[in-house]
Amino acid sequence: MLEIFQYGFIVRGLEAGILIGLIAPLIGIFLVLRRYSLIADTLSHVSLAGVAVGLLLKINPLWTALGASALSSIAIERLRTSKKIYGETALSIFLSGSLALAIVLIGLAHGFSVDLFSYLFGSIVTVKQIDVYIILGLSVLIALSVFLFYKELIYIAFDEEASTVSGLPVKIFNTLFVLLAAIVIAISIPIIGILLISALLVLPTITALQLKQSFTKTLLWAEIISVFSIITGIITSFYLNISSGGTIVLIMLTIFGIVLSIYGKK
């Protein structure tokens, strides 16, 4: 069992994975409860375009993915609140638009298709030491933001209108929130892959919701499910030599299935 830790990439993968496992439910619970789940999918596709730009220009793709995801999250939120177009159409414009951009960019530089596959489905091999530090810094930022604005985020998610009347700066919080979601999505790419990120954000929360607990307890259960699935997923994928992202999502789905069959009947 212990020989696994002799490999640097496994240690880096576990470090980055545990960090992401901890912050994903902090954002995921609000995405699920606000019916924003689809924004995760959209921003992950936008991140793919960012990754393609990074690979093309030979910049660390984590940075370009972060930039693309953050800028788009603000643009989507603006479009949604302008009410000029429907909220979900704003999402599909960005989803298909960025996928189109990504495909064109990939076509322009034929060489990196192998690398791209690991970005699509997650492969901890791509996690470099510098990435672990970037992920650590941004994870602290996200955890701190959610901790400091915990009560406001809950109130806005539960009742946006009443929280506006109570004088909270709801628009600022909504922008801050999508920005935090954009960061989580961009830094999760190496571990879970672009196509599987929404599962990472959504599954632990909807599993914990079945337990019908208070808000804070629901969040704690989502954390436990998330971190457990990531650690067991990375270790399993190492021994079976399979994709880490796919393994993690399948473990999460299994837990969801078990919990639903026990608690869902009530």
């Binding site: 409860l33 400091l148 604005f149 009560k151 406001e152 809950i154 109130y155 998610a157 539960f158 009742d159 209108e161 009443a162 929280s163 506006t164 009347v165 109570s166 004088g167 909270l168 914990a208 919701l209 019908k212 607990q213 208070s214 808000f215 307890k217 629901t218």
Partner: protein, 253 residues
Amino acid sequence: MSINHQKNIIEVEKVSFSYGNVEVLKDITLAIHQGDYISLIGPNGGGKTTLLKIMLGLIEPQAGQIKLFGEKLQDFKDWSKLGYVPQKAINFDPLFPVTVREVVAMGCYGKKGLLKWLNKKDQTNIDDALAQVEMTKYADRLIGNLSSGQQQRVFIARALAGKPEVIFLDEPTVGVDIKTQEEFYSLLTHLNSDMNITLILISHDIDVVTNEVTELACLNQTLVYHGEPKKFMKGNYLETLYGKNARFIDHNH
């Protein structure tokens, strides 16, 4: 707190509002005084909810202005004086994982300000609010597991926890049975006469509210009537509001 029934706490001045080409409110002027228990009634599409949302600053009128506690709405900062009970019986997510206590605590957040945690005094306010609506023993239950009448009481407790001077209620009795409705109105009377809270209530139950409230404002694009319920009953306003065939439906047979 001494009550001055002459003091205007909400002034609606020449407010007009339309959605696209549809005029919903036309030149509404209305003053609500401290201690009033006023119901906004009128047909669907008559502009009740729109006017309530304009008073709360949730939507902006095309013409006219609102003053809250003597200040223009744009300059008004003291939002904790206002409590709001939205029409939750219908559009509230029963799966949202919050306990009754967590919901009532939200009522303190606006007043508390950013980056501050609730202290003992806030916890006492939450306890008091729960006691006022007789929901103390349900404090740790999930809001989704309560009946709609109980949920509505929790939302009132949330408004009370912020110690407001005025509470706005948007059709609070939609979807509750007659007995629950009676208990609900006696709670509102208690808030108004014993706790001196000004109440602004949108309602469909014209026959019920005319017996409960101290003032009626009837809206159908324009302000058709504003005054005591008794005079309203004597006048021919129902016809103006709802057309010739309008009559009260007796719920109690």
